[in-house]
Symmetry: D3
Subunit: 250 residues, 6 copies
């Protein structure tokens, strides 16, 4: 049993509050236990230079933590004058992951800008961001769909993410900050509801990982992803139905 | 009557949620209508160079808006590499205002770092930040008091702030974003519960202001401040009583 | 009596040297006692994006102090890589203040860039900058007028600024650096010659200000503004007459 | 067969030139086909703040590409004023990977700074950097050992890295730039000679990856790592023998 | 004859106003025709790390132009976030040149910070800065001498600088901005009153220079330096005499 | 005799490896003794704003040292966020020097970007960069010539550079790092094969230089340039002949 009463293969409860902020085209407050991330999606009517005049769209992401999302205060990146390496790495991951869910050719020459701002960080902020941001992206696309601005529905599949790790030899799903700081191995898996792997990132911080341990972690993570997909469907399918769009998971 | 049904001298309802984030020494989510600001206070065990070895404490503030707190997405300051002039100006105002509430000599050589992050910006974000941040500062001081870390109680008076303006010649209290963009004159008043003025900032964006109009705005603002002080007392006095500290407004 | 022999309601002598630098379209060296600011105005043939194709013009300002304008050497902003919060705040104030003097619709799609560089700083540098920069702006407009580049004369009214404060309870006009560092309250007033208030900024650094004290300071400041307007007229009206433009204060 | 005549499971020839630059404590020019990286190791007599007075050492890395290492010229990071997200991500990976090879407690309070500068980039620059940098690190440790500056030999195991990917459905080892740009999936594996996995990073750029495909890629990568370990041993073991240090792979 | 009536070997009149700004330890406004530079010297009680605990002092310089010192407005370096290459190059030259005049061992562990700010730039700003800054440095040293803070008088020799060039094949002394923009060759010479060369910088912008032409330019420049030394002596020797310090040029 | 066995007037052996990196239009690895610089030339199809629509081309340069090119590790410029003054100064020199070799009117509206990256720095890196970069520039122009993209052959003359100095009173050619750090005077000369001087930069770090000493150094440097021109011709003339272009030195 873990500090918060969960079994090893149990993720924290996931809550997805839609339309948390009123201005963005898509806005979701996602909570996984005490990790809280605000995911806002903006639709911009232009694309990066390499896509101009191709008819294709793009999705990009920015990730940041409020200074006191963490136990110790983390100085703002702007104070040092540039993005931290950690933030840069995570926002590139979020962007790649979400693009895997979309048919960008059906977006038109638009960019979806996905802002993930961590309000409270109790571990697994990058995976929680991806799971929540997918929902915000679908909300933004719904708005474009209502405006009849899209030639087709660009959502190819659900994308979600989950963390797991080896803590004192024990595989565990969805690590809290405390568990993460004790873990020998830390693995993040981004996947699709149809069973595809979009991204895998595993780091052995202390002891190298055996192949059999990697397999066990992947099994655990794949199982965790299913719960995230279910939570996404629970909040999104009613919206999609109203717009007569195909429900997720169908 | 105004767009949201208020009379001209009526502020928006003010809600103050204590302990919104679990890590900071003081944390308050303040809402004034659709303006939402998260105020987190960190206690650091050091002071700026000019106060070293004086035994006095300090309070400093940082202010930022999430990119999509606004109707149009505002790029993050870090992307341009430095703080915007507007943010710099506001965070200096917040710091000065809150320091006026405290006897810094009773803080010891500590710095209170007040982070005000705007989640949703429907006008009057700087005044809402000040009103909410005062509450978060008191929470942080309560924690120090419980730890018996303070030689005396440093809160001298309540500090709150309110905006008002002239919209088509009409003085109005607590402007929304839409009202603010139509205002000829914009005035922010920071005051104390005992009736002192801490800061006054008035700008005539279009037509210069007559002295009599300035007087009318000041009257309106002083009246608005009273409601803010009452809201602060409603959430803080129960906490202060538990610690046997003097209630505010006594 | 004050350190430099002035009475409490007496401003320092104001001197305005026109055409101090030969290249700018408008150039004024302004001295108020030992505070010396060089105000240079550049006319640029373009406007910021939000004004493109509107036919309207704009005015923007930059403010800086030479490193040794002050008693202690202040490092240049470029060494730290970004504008200080103080400079950012002041240059925004100067821009807003000067725009209030002009009918920007009569400027055409041009930007007036006003550089205020403080050569020697003995208090009240921001108000001295505004008073001097107004003169430099009129000089630049005269040059455009001579070139028959303007559809009408854009100067609506004079703009000047003055500082005052409470020093040991005594209201005082036009503070030196030493007086400012002892002041409990510091108030800057920007106004027009026709009696309008353009900007009011008052800060109670130590003790909150009573409303009656604020009123006394405003009375003092309004009186100080009149001397600044007179000094502006003394140097500008001969120029305006030569060009058969309406004299100021008429 | 591939463009350069290799079979799918064949890595490019790996050459390791020791002591390429005369000043660093360890210097290696590593070539994998047309990818060329200069790895220089500096020994600094201090550690980051979080390790001070612990007796432990640290290893950190910086990674950069010369502007014309690539087919199109890439502007230098310094021109934009900050490190690119890609560089930040890679140098963090290199640092983590190399730390996994060492017992940092045997380093003393020293930092090994590993500079990986890509002179020519024909794919797989991050994995080539890791493989080459491990050799440069051992050279630097040999120098410390000769100076009798180490309490014990800190090399726990060899670390190397290899890339592989799915190109038109075909698993391929050690991708060139051209192959990489056609790959659906890109996987980097960092491992130790004793068979441990240090880091796994897999990205499905186009089509999500099935678990069975991931397994096939991991098999291929583990096989590729063996050749890298052999190349490291071939150049390092003669040096180690001279110093009577345990040979690698023993 | 030249545009301003000078002969080819005639420098512009040089004026040196001492104590132009009241705060710096040494302050000189230097004018060479329409080139105007404010040179302020600050004495700081510390040295750069490489000189700590050596008992030696240092001299460093910063150089900048006000935005409208030039015919076209030059954006401030801080707006782009870093010092321009030109400014960096010039301030390094000023520092090296002035250090050649001093016995830094007699300064004690102090740094002289020399700020050269160009108010109006009509060519030859770097050489005019050096000539004026030498005077400001001597003023600052006089102040230290009066305070009996120096073990000996650190001025070894006078340092001044002069520009010359080839304009349509004609060697000319002390170029204006217009002459400089037509010159094929531009040469700056920094020298000492005892006839030593401290720095020579010659650039053939259009046509390479023949050795005989270089010799002619050097002759002209050496002659120009004599007038600069005389101007320095005229303003400094009365001060030195008052302090019973050895006059310059003795 | 010198540390490396050379006589005072003997330069280090110069080696020029063509096509060192495969991607650039021109690539040369130049070695002068233990100084090693990689010079890569990129042809870009645009010019800076001041040349647009003139039909003329441009050449610009960037210079950097790898962190461990030097005996002590030099932090990367990007870590401090901006180019060092020294790098800025050198890259401006390289650009000016190489432009003197070319008829830019025959380049068309193209920019040659010359990257000089120092891999190992044993003195004289700026002069070695110029000598090597000239060769890389000619290689890039050969490629444009083969593509029949040039209206005429833009190379007017060879450009090379050499350092010399006074070490303990003795003039010496081509200083190593150790010799340079002991030199009283350091002189760099950039010249053309037809005997013109393009740039002269001399600095007396310790003792001012007499005119006769300057003459002796110039004689020595001119003699050193001849060897550099010969080395350039030896590698370039075979290429030029193949393309039926006029050989250098003819």
């Amino acid at each position: 049993m873990r500090g918060d009463g969960r079994t090893f293969d149990q993720p924290r409860p996931l809550s997805l509050t839609l339309d948390f902020v009123k201005y963005p085209e898509g806005s979701v407050l996602v909570r996984a236990g005490d990790t809280v991330v605000l995911c806002n999606v903006t639709v911009e009517g232009r694309v990066p230079p390499f896509l101009r005049d191709t008819g294709e769209g793009w999705l990009t992401s920015e990730y940041a933590m409020l200074p006191r999302a963490t136990e110790e205060r983390t100085p703002r990146d702007v104070v040092k004058g540039s993005l931290s390496g950690r933030s840069a790495e995570i926002q590139r991951l979020i962007g790649r992951s979400l693009r895997a869910a979309l048919d960008l050719g059906l977006l038109g020459e638009r960019t979806l800008v996905v802002d993930c701002d961590v309000l409270q960080a109790d571990g697994s902020t990058r995976t929680t961001s991806i799971t929540g941001a997918f929902v915000a992206v679908v909300l933004a696309l719904c708005r474009l769909w209502e405006q009849k601005a899209l030639p087709g529905w660009p959502v190819k599949d659900q994308v979600a993410a989950v963390s797991c790790g080896l803590v004192r030899g024990q595989p565990m799903l969805d690590l809290t900050y405390e568990e993460d700081s004790q873990a020998d191995v830390d693995l993040n898996l981004v996947g699709t509801a149809r069973g595809g792997i979009v991204e895998i990132q595993g780091t052995a911080e202390r002891e190298p990982l055996r192949r059999s341990q990697l397999d066990a972690l992947l099994d655990l993570a794949e199982q965790g992803l299913q719960k995230a997909f279910a939570a996404q469907r629970a909040v999104l399918n009613p919206r999609l139905e109203k717009l007569k769009l195909p429900p997720l998971g169908a």
